[in-house]
């Protein structure tokens, strides 16, 4: 009997795409050899969403292997919303002092505690299903600080835009996908890039670049 493909199994949602998530248990599917495979068949360990499985296994053992976080006692939406508000209020206070530092040569270092605080908050609300939109906004906002993006925040209008976002997160009961949209629009309008990827110019390549000479055989 062919082993069913477990990639559609909801229990395998342990595979997360959230890059900020802490280590999650990954399912391991171990195929146990049948007599037909011979004594030399050691079985197959497979990690991942789907596997190409031979149809001659006689048994299946599924184990979860990885760094497991002990199950949290705290699961309510109201609790995570409170955590989010409290931590964002701390970020709010840190951010409010940036205006006085905007002319410093080492202005970039002022963002380190803010980026750190955002990272810790993302980790803390990683389990909260109701805070997915919050995590997205925090990631996009954080990314505007990185890769030289902090320099834009010397401009007061850029700081005001970020403050508006932080103020919202510091008080909101819930965060919706519409909130993600208007905040992204706000960041874009102020030239604050959240991808951190430099936009390169496809037209007008530099023709003065020396081409490497072919090496003769």
């Amino acid at each position: 009997m062919a082993i069913p493909n477990r990639s559609q199994d909801p229990s395998s949602e342990a595979m997360r795409v959230d890059s900020d998530a802490i280590s999650r248990p990954q399912p391991i599917l171990k195929l146990v050899g049948a007599p037909e495979t011979g004594s030399g068949f050691a079985g197959v360990d497979s990690r991942g969403r789907s596997i190409a499985a031979p149809g001659i296994a006689s048994g299946i053992a599924v184990a979860h292997h990885g760094v497991l976080q002990s199950p949290s006692r705290h699961t309510s939406d109201a609790y995570f919303a409170t955590i989010r508000r409290g931590e964002v209020q701390k970020i709010q206070r840190q951010f409010s002092s940036l205006g006085e530092q905007a002319t410093r040569d080492d202005f970039a270092v002022c963002f380190h505690p803010i980026v750190n605080a955002i990272r810790k908050l993302l980790d803390r609300i990683a389990d909260a299903r109701s805070e997915g939109n919050t995590r997205e906004i925090l990631r996009r906002l954080r990314d505007t600080f990185l890769d030289g993006g902090w320099a834009r925040y010397r401009d007061a209008s850029a700081r005001r835009a970020a403050e508006e976002i932080i103020d919202f997160l510091a008080g909101a009961e819930g965060v919706t996908p519409q909130d993600v949209k208007w905040m992204s629009s706000l960041l874009r309008a102020k030239g604050l890039r959240s991808t951190g990827i430099p936009v390169f110019d496809l037209e007008g390549e530099d023709n003065d670049v020396e081409e490497e000479e072919e090496v003769s055989d």
Binding site: H74, S76, D77, Y79, A81, Q89, D167, F168
Partner: protein, 259 residues
């Protein structure tokens, strides 16, 4: 906050004074006068105290030689008929010849649903009403439950506020510890009023007990105190919830999602 959950609030109002000479006779006259003004005619008495009971509206007026009091299951009765009750207090005091008061107080016991479990609320007490839990490890190890009692003043009234997360057992115990609950039900074996109130209490809630009082007030101050204490109780309960849930906003205000 209290007005949003009026059926989960236990209310007490009391005026204390020194006993007057001839108090036994004067007390009977005061009870008769007050009883005549109440639509309900159910009453009970002990050697020291009279109770005028309205089972339908779930409130009791008590009159004794040194105190006139009001107790109700739920806040609505007090909120809507406060002026009437204050006038009854004044009638009783005048009939007893009381000119000087010792204390006037308003106490609420509110069981507020927060959408969180008992352990979550305990966790959030740290960093809001208490220092962070790790700073108390040397004192109590890993804390599992919390209770905060605060004394203060608010607009000329003294306040005593107790804030504690409560599980279903704790909230039931706190409610049932109130004296004289049996006076609010009739017949006692069949009336489910107390059980209904207890069942309305959320399984896990934030218990906020708030006692506001003034010492040596003038009898003419009772009406003003009744109004201000109700307002203050509402403000304090809201401030407690806002603080626990880290909601920014001035006392008495709301903080909604901005557009």
């Amino acid at each position: 906050m209290l007005k949003e959950h009026p059926d989960r609030v236990f209310v007490n109002f009391a005026v204390d004074f020194d006993a007057q000479i001839g108090y036994a006779r004067r007390l009977s006259e005061a009870v008769e006068a007050v009883h005549g003004r109440l639509p309900t005619k159910q009453w009970a008495c002990t050697t020291e105290r009279y109770y005028l009971r309205d089972i339908e509206k779930r409130f009791v007026l008590s009159l004794e030689f040194a105190r006139i009091g009001f107790t109700s299951l739920g806040l609505d009765t007090w909120t809507t008929r406060m002026t009437e009750f204050v006038s009854l207090f004044k009638l009783g005091l005048d009939t007893m010849g009381v000119e000087k008061l010792k204390r006037v107080g308003f106490k609420t016991q509110a069981f507020i649903a927060t959408g969180m479990s008992h352990s979550e609320m305990c966790d959030l007490m740290f960093g809001s009403f208490l220092v962070e839990a790790k700073e108390l490890e040397n004192v109590c190890g890993k804390p599992t439950d919390t209770l905060v009692q605060l004394h203060g003043t608010h607009k000329g009234m003294r306040t005593l506020t107790v804030i504690t997360p409560a599980n279903s057992e704790q909230s039931a115990q706190s409610f049932m510890a109130n004296p004289g609950l049996d006076l609010l039900v009739e017949p006692k074996l069949y009336d489910t009023g107390l059980r209904d109130f207890r069942d309305r209490i959320p399984k896990e809630c934030l218990l906020i007990e708030n006692d506001l009082f003034q010492l040596d007030p003038a009898p003419s101050d009772i009406q003003g105190f009744a109004r201000e204490s109700l307002e203050a109780s509402e403000d304090i309960a809201e401030a407690v919830i806002f603080k626990l849930k880290r909601i920014q906003g001035r006392r008495g205000g709301r903080n909604g999602n901005p557009k």
